[in-house]
Structures are given as structure tokens and as C-alpha cells.
């Protein structure tokens, strides 16, 4: 209000922040369409001098993009569905029942956020190896099928459902299972969509745990395949790596563009991380 007619100089700072966020991405896309020589000779220009699809074609010859994408998708889908199901069931139990030790169980769930992955990685690695699930995306997914942030968000949303609604259903002798699927789930749809989207994107990009479980190239997910393009195997082909990076972000970007409103709102209401 006070700034009417004047330029608000704070926008300059904010635009600088936007540039730091977005410029690397533009360079990524631009380099993926540059020849190896141009990526060095014209490194400051965002528009490729001689745009080429060669990087994508070469990538397609070097790795099996279809298998990589499928592995990544399968892993992310299993993890997402698992986390949503366990999260919804657990939150519903907290929302609808009184039982002994409720606070204690809740605190245990919340505190799992503070468990560093390093403290569980050796035993979990041994278990996955025993189950013969090394080099299998199932082995990556299995230890991560529940997530405390999901439980917390669903619980917060469920608490907004008026008691009278659920009590009315109970008076009508509607079984609990039906209350859960026909009343609670539909009301929670927006948070299921947004939490699911974030679970999926995070799992799609996951790196640490998959590097321990997936050693065989045929079982690789996209981030692991990308890491293979770093120097150790002799000289980084940067445009090629950027082509793979660009392919990798397409699906998360589509999900974000479709559900952007839900996703940002859900972070706001809950502190999902």
C-alpha cells in the first residue's frame, strides 16, 4: 500500500533468488541439446548454437531407458502406495479409537522422523540380502512402506472431520470398514493426492538406500544410472548426463504442474518434508 507508484526494490532480491533456483535448470535443458564441443565453447549461452538430439539418441543406445524408467516407477509406486495405506490406517486408528498407550505409540511414530538412516542401514541391508532381494527394487521399497509424516498429515486432516458425521454413521450401524472407505477417504482426497505426489517424487529421486541395494546395472533406477555418468569411468560427457537428467525430471514436473495447488497447500498445512 505504501509502495504504490514506486518500484519495490525487494523484488530485485527475490528475482535473484528465482534466478539461482531456475538458471541451473535452464542450463541443464540447454546443455542436453548441445554438442559436446558447444557445451564447452558456448557455455554461457542458454540457446544451443546447433541444437541436436544426438545426446538423447546416444543415451538411448548406451542405457536401456525403458527399463530404467520402469524400475524407478515401480519402486516409487510401491513406496507411495505402501506409505499411503499404512498412513491412512494408522491415522484412522488414532482418530477413531481410545486405547491404552495412545500417546506413547504416537510419540514413537513421530520420533521415527529423527532416526538417521545410518542406524538402520546395516541390519536392513542384511535382512534384504537374506530375503534375496538385493538388486531388486522390492528390496529398496520394502523397508520404507511406512512414514511418520504421512501419518501426521492424515491425522491432522482427519481431526477436521466433525465427530457428529462419524457418530451418525455409527448410530446407523454402518460398519467401520465402510465409514473408513466411504466417508473418511473421500474427505481426505486432497491430502491423499498431495501427500502421494510428494511421496512419489521423493522416492523417484531417491539415491542413498538404492545405491546400497541395487548393484547390478539391470536393476538400476534413474538416479543411479545418472551417477554412472560421472568422471570415474573416464571423462564426464556433460551433455549426455544432462539429457538423462532432463528425462528424469519430466514425470515429477508433470505431477507438480497438475497438483501444484494441492502440493503447496499440503506443505503449508502440515510441514511435510
Amino acid at each position: 500500500m505504501f509502495d504504490k507508484g514506486k518500484i519495490n526494490y525487494w523484488h530485485l532480491l527475490l528475482i535473484l533468488v528465482v534466478l539461482i533456483a531456475i538458471l541451473p535448470i535452464l542450463f541443464m535443458v540447454s546443455n542436453s541439446f548441445k554438442t559436446l564441443r558447444d557445451s564447452y565453447n558456448t557455455m554461457l549461452s542458454l540457446i544451443p548454437l546447433r541444437p541436436t538430439l544426438n545426446n538423447y539418441l546416444m543415451l538411448n543406445r548406451q542405457v536401456n531407458l525403458l527399463t530404467l524408467t520402469w524400475n524407478t516407477f515401480l519402486m516409487a509406486a510401491i513406496v507411495t502406495i505402501g506409505k499411503l495405506l499404512t498412513g491412512l490406517l494408522t491415522a484412522y486408528a488414532f482418530r477413531s479409537y481410545r486405547f491404552k498407550g495412545k500417546m506413547f505409540v504416537y510419540l514413537i511414530f513421530v520420533s521415527t522422523i529423527f532416526v538417521p538412516f545410518t542406524i538402520i542401514m546395516i541390519p536392513n541391508y542384511l535382512v534384504i540380502a537374506k530375503l534375496n532381494l538385493l538388486n531388486n527394487v522390492l528390496g529398496v521399497a520394502l523397508p520404507q512402506l511406512c512414514d511418520a509424516t504421512g501419518i501426521m498429515i492424515f491425522l491432522k486432516t482427519m481431526e477436521k472431520i466433525p465427530n457428529t458425521l462419524i457418530d451418525a454413521a455409527k448410530v446407523d450401524n454402518i460398519p467401520n470398514r465402510k465409514i473408513f472407505f466411504n466417508i473418511v477417504i473421500p474427505i481426505l482426497k486432497p491430502s491423499i493426492v498431495s501427500v502421494g505426489a510428494i511421496f512419489f517424487i521423493n522416492s523417484w529421486n531417491e539415491y542413498v538406500w538404492p545405491t546400497l541395494i541395487l548393484k547390478d546395472k539391470a536393476s538400476f533406477t534413474l538416479p543411479l544410472a545418472l551417477q554412472n555418468y560421472i568422471s570415474s569411468e573416464g571423462g564426464t560427457n556433460f551433455p549426455l548426463a544432462m539429457a538423462l537428467s532432463t528425462i528424469m525430471v519430466i514425470l515429477p514436473l508433470i505431477i507438480y504442474l497438475i497438483f501444484q495447488k494441492y502440493i503447496l497447500n499440503s506443505i503449508s498445512t502440515s510441514g511435510l518434508k
Binding site: 528465482v18 520420533s111 542413498v208 528424469m248 510441514g271
Partner: protein
Amino acid sequence: MHNKNKRILPFLYLLPTAILLLVFMIIPIIYTFYLSFFDWNLIAPTKEFVGFKNYIDVFIDPINQKVILNTIIYIVFLIILNFLIPYFISLIVKFFINKMQKTYKILFFIPSLFSLVVGAMIFTWMLNPVSGPIAFILKNIGISMPNWSNSGILAITVICFITNWKVFGYNFILLLTGLGSIPQNIIDAAKIDRIPKWRLIFNVVLPMNRGISVYVLILTIVQGLQYVFTPINVITTGGPYYGSSNMIYQTYLNAFVLYKTGTSSALAIVTFIIFLILLFIEIRFVEGRSDKYV
């Protein structure tokens, strides 16, 4: 019959989560604790009991001491980059501009969609001291860029900056939301009384926003130390000479590169204890009021 059902039902709903937590979290924690008292190499059929030796190693081994010091440096950098700067920017977006708030939110969040492997690769290219664009620009104005991967502290700076690129939008939105829950009439009243904005912020806004900011601050430390694993592993693998390693990365190195599960487990337990202290602080400040489940 009906009554009995009602008693069992909540536990049925909790069962999948409980089993998963037990098998993949609680038992593993106990097992890691057990392993921390033994020398083992992940493969050998026997483990050798060594008492507290692994814990003593964590604190007297010079490499581990360096790594603990690095961890503190990481925490300081992460707090500045991933907490203080997003907090400052969210205050500006909330109180100092009137337009475009939503656009900034949408744009700031985009890097969160990227894998840290991608971020690590792009920034390694941009910051390449010999052939990168930033070195090129600096050279043209007569500054030579330091070879940051040869210096532990510079490598740590770059690694923290890369994670900042990814999580900035997230933390920004969380902190902005916290600011949004401050009642508008308080802010309006301050405007009418012509109280300067910075005084309003320091005396009213920051204290009122304490809950969510402590939450973001602690998550910044706990998750940040784990997020930096990816750029460390992709760019420096902990080098030069453990100069950019932290306790999380060192735990991994000991377990899966050096095959010293004992040292690894002791490091993991110490990390966990530090995180538990942070959890305790979080409960005091943030969850403290949610006594509704008692």
C-alpha cells in the same frame, strides 16, 4: 462379541505400521546397538566382542575427530543456508511486497522436484574451477577461481549450497505458512501505530512464530545432515582426506567401504543420540502442546 471387536479393531488398523516399524526400524536399531560392541566385517562368521572400544574410537581417532568437527561445520552452514536465509526471504515475501507472492512460491519450489544427483552434477559443472561458466566469467574480470574440491571447507560450502538449492523452496513455504498464522489485526494495529516493520518483526512476529521455526530449524539439521550424503558421495566421496565427510557419511564409509561394522555402528548410535536430544527439544517447543492423546 461386538465389544470385543471394538477393542481389537484399533490394533488391527495399527498392525501393518507396527510390524513394519518393528522389523525395519526398532529391531535394526537394537541390532546396530549390539553390533557397536563388536568387531565385524559384515561377512565373517564370527564377531569379536570389544566392549566400548568402538565408542572410544569415535572420539579419539583423528579421522573421526575431523569428521565430528566437519559435522559441526555442516550444521552451522545448514542453519545459515537452509534456515536463516529462507526465513529472511519469507519475511520479505510476507511483509515487504504486496504482489507476486504466489508466483514466487511456485518458482522457489521447482528445484525440489530434482534429484540431488542432478543438482550435484549441474553445480559441479557450473562451479568447475577450470572449465566452468562461473570460472570463465571470473577470469574475464581478473579473478581466478579456487579449486574448491581440494579444500575441505570449500567443498562443504558447495555441498551445502547444492542441498540448499533443493530444499530452499520447501523450508520457505513452511516458514511462510507459520508467518501466515499470525493474526492480521496485530499486524494492522502495528501499522496504524506506525511501529516500524523491523520492530514489529523482532518484537512480535519472530516470538509468535517460534513453534514452527524451531521445527524447521531442527529438521534442517536432522535431514540436512542426511541430504548432504548424496552430493558428498557424487562429488567428493568425503575427500580431500575426509575433509568433506560428516558423521552420516563416515558411518556409511565404515560399513560399506571399509567393512568396519563396529565403528560404523558406534558412529550411528552417537548420531542417533544427538538426534534424540534434538527430538527432545522439538517436543518441548512444538509437540509440547499436543497433550490431546494422553
